[in-house]
Amino acid sequence: MTIDLAIILAPFFMAACIAIFYRKIKRNWVGWIVLFIPIILFLTLTTYIPRVANGHTFSNTYEWIPSLNINFTTYLDGLSLMFSLLITGVGSLVILYSIFYLSQKEALHHFYCYLLLFMGAMLGVVLSDHLMVLYVFWELTSVSSFLLIAFWHHRKASRAGARKSMTITVSGGVSMLVGFLMLYVMSGTFSIREIIANISMISGQSLFIPALFLVLLGAFTKSAQFPFHIWLPDAMEAPTPVSAYLHSATMVKAGIYLVARFTPIFGGEMIWFWTVTGVGLITLFWGSFNAIRQVDLKAILAFSTVSQLGLIMSLLGLGSVAVHLGYSDKTVLYTQASFAALFHLMNHSTFKGALFMMVGIVDHELGTRDIRRLGGLMSFMPFTFTIALIGSFSMAGLPPFNGFLSKEMFFAAVLKITELDIFSLQSVGVIIPIVAWVASIFTFVYCLIIVGKTFFGKLKPDLLEKQPHEAPVGMLIPPFILISLVVLIFFFPNILGKYILQPAMGSIYPTFPSVKELTPSIYAWHGFNPELYMTMGVVVVGVILYHLLPRWKRIYLLIPQRFTLNAMYESTISFSENFSRLVTRRYMNGDLTHYFIYIYVFFVAVVAGYFLFTEGITFNPAIDAKIEGFELILVFIMVVAAISILFAKSRITTVILNGVLGYSVAFFFVIFRAPDLALTQLVVESVTTALFLICFKFLPDLKPEPSTRGVKISNGVISILVGATVTIVGLAVMNYEKFDTISSYFEDSYNLAGGKNIVNTILGDFRAFDTMLEVVVLFIAGLGVYTLIKLKAKKEGTDIENK
């Protein structure tokens, strides 16, 4: 086993250890033990950086299901490495943070188990080359996200949020699976690299465009792109470390990863360019626009994450132009969009992670995240304020923070794209920079809201449950590491660019001979150019809008509550729930008799239907044994007894008639040369009759069946059909002579088993296990009888049942 596989498996291994041994571990140690895994993985991954930066890639194949051509192929290149570093790096900080965030009373082992599960799944997504393996890990991230959102499962909102995210991301995942299968049909391989190598072969096929859309659907649902973004705000019910990790820094970026990974396959298509860019821009605008109306700090951050993900997505769309144009000295103008996407992705993880941790601190120390109740915290929480200030300003795109650099590159990219005259960009391309600019203004406004409403203004002590105070050091360290990165990246962006981003970009354009010339150098100062004017405009308009906020906030009331996407989703869900409840109640009505009827009707329809359809009904009385007179009498007795039971008025008659049937069966056993059966039947029949009689002491006498005539007739018809079906099946089996009998084997019982009674040797020797289990069944039935008679439910027990 090599290191790359170990990297994927280590979190799973640790999760299993935690699940098994958590009772042995002291509660306050669990987090520290778990923390080892991401730190070790992160350090291991950093050793790959120089080699990957030199253009090396690492790939290993492990056979998994070779007969289905499914192999576990790990593939580590620039893009995978960048994501893996992000997953383990942010993962370490988040786990450190959660040690201080979560109370010791919480189900810590569940929390860390799910978190490690997620980490392993996410590493699996970014490190596998095989589409099916990638899909499995992809869905596993959805599952672990579900578990983490529902961590506080006693809260209704948590459960609802978890279900919503699961519904949306998993349905996207399934459509992505279909897209993968289409790619397989077209290319004959599941390997992403082989598909890229054969791209010219598949790009013309009729399934190509459907596959493109299906794969994009998976990416858009996962990355919360419009109109699927509605799950992300609800996912904020998760504990804050989870929101920082899954729903901001890593999992929601899996969709970005997928789009980047598939850009070499689909990137040359106009439809890819417009879908990815368009959806990205709409999401960017809609997310930032909606963030402003929120009053919960975490909800603001959720919509801001949606919006920033849209920004990254649109940049990847713009960058796909380079695939269409091919490699030339001018391509750098467009590859820098992809470069900016990766750069902003890194930056977003740093500042958004810090901001989420900041909100977690505020929530933890004050017991609320509602900006209407917050204010004036600057003097009480100076460190938290610093985090909020740097994080927000970086997100708003101000210097000297890393967000400024990537935001400028974003503006540069949207301006450059309007100069192209492919994909009908000449006519409508001008919209792109306008949307980008307007969305950036909204971004600026909500950044001001985060800082201003929380830390400036007046303190409102009467609205707070706790006295405001600074957080413990342990909770401050992780966000401080992140914001120092925010500043460091601003001053030394090209180190990140050269070692991490350039090889990652190389993975988006694997067919280009060299990516070195395509990598833009990042400068904080590049003279007075349109990008800088755009940023200045954002600041000026943003500040004005922030101050006029109460005046124009009414604009949000223009959209009726009923027509928001969220409301439509909710009404669809509740409609389908009510509808299926209605339908289910129609047939699952709690009446046992009805359930029997379903079973019988189904049995008759399938079995009799099969025999009628295949004309398998055979009847040949010629092979029968001879009928003796006394046998006829016995048959007659049984028929009369059976039919009389139907009309018996008292229960004693019923049981005696049943006894008649039982003893007649015993007589048949005698006639048919089965002495053991006859003996057993006689004993059992006597005991059964006695049991019935004992039970009658406690049960009321039979009443005439209260059913209506129609019900009786339909029951009668069903019974006759069932009987007829059994008869035709029996007759068909009698005439079915395709196999030799196996019974002659047992006739050697004296030599094989040392017994002369063949039936006894079968029970006691040949099929002894069967008999033993039969005894077990008897024993369990006896236990059941005893329990039902002796034990009574405790009072609390019945209460719980009725709740």
Binding site: R585, F596, F698, V759
Partner: protein
């Protein structure tokens, strides 16, 4: 003889099914008992009737009647006895707890 027995089995199954479909709990239990009688006869019959002697090596030199269905039925008789006993006690308990032996009245829909 076999055809006649199978027709008898069919009649028993019809009667058993009709009883199982009734609303009274005792009738349902008697119905299951009749169904198991029918099945025992069916298994024995499809194994072939009167094809040989009692399956005891000490009794004769053969040919013997098929012993395998007999072993199966022996197991089935005991199991069906256990089930009948259990159902009877279940009926008793149901009646004591709910005060009814009518399936329509025993419908458990209060929790929904």
């Amino acid at each position: 003889m076999e055809s006649l027995m199978i027709v008898l089995v069919g009649i028993l199954v019809s009667v058993g099914t009709y009883l199982v479909l009734s609303r009274n709990i005792i009738r349902v239990i008697v119905g299951t008992a009749i169904l198991s009688h029918a099945v025992h006869l069916l298994i024995l019959t499809v194994g072939g009737l009167k094809k040989g002697d009692v399956p005891l090596l000490s009794h004769s030199g053969g040919p013997f009647t098929d012993a395998l269905p007999q072993a199966l039925i022996l197991t089935a008789i005991v199991i069906s006895f256990a089930v009948t006993a259990f159902l009877l006690v279940l009926a008793y308990r149901t009646y004591v707890t709910n005060g009814s032996d009518d399936f329509q009245e025993l419908r458990g829909m209060s929790d929904e």
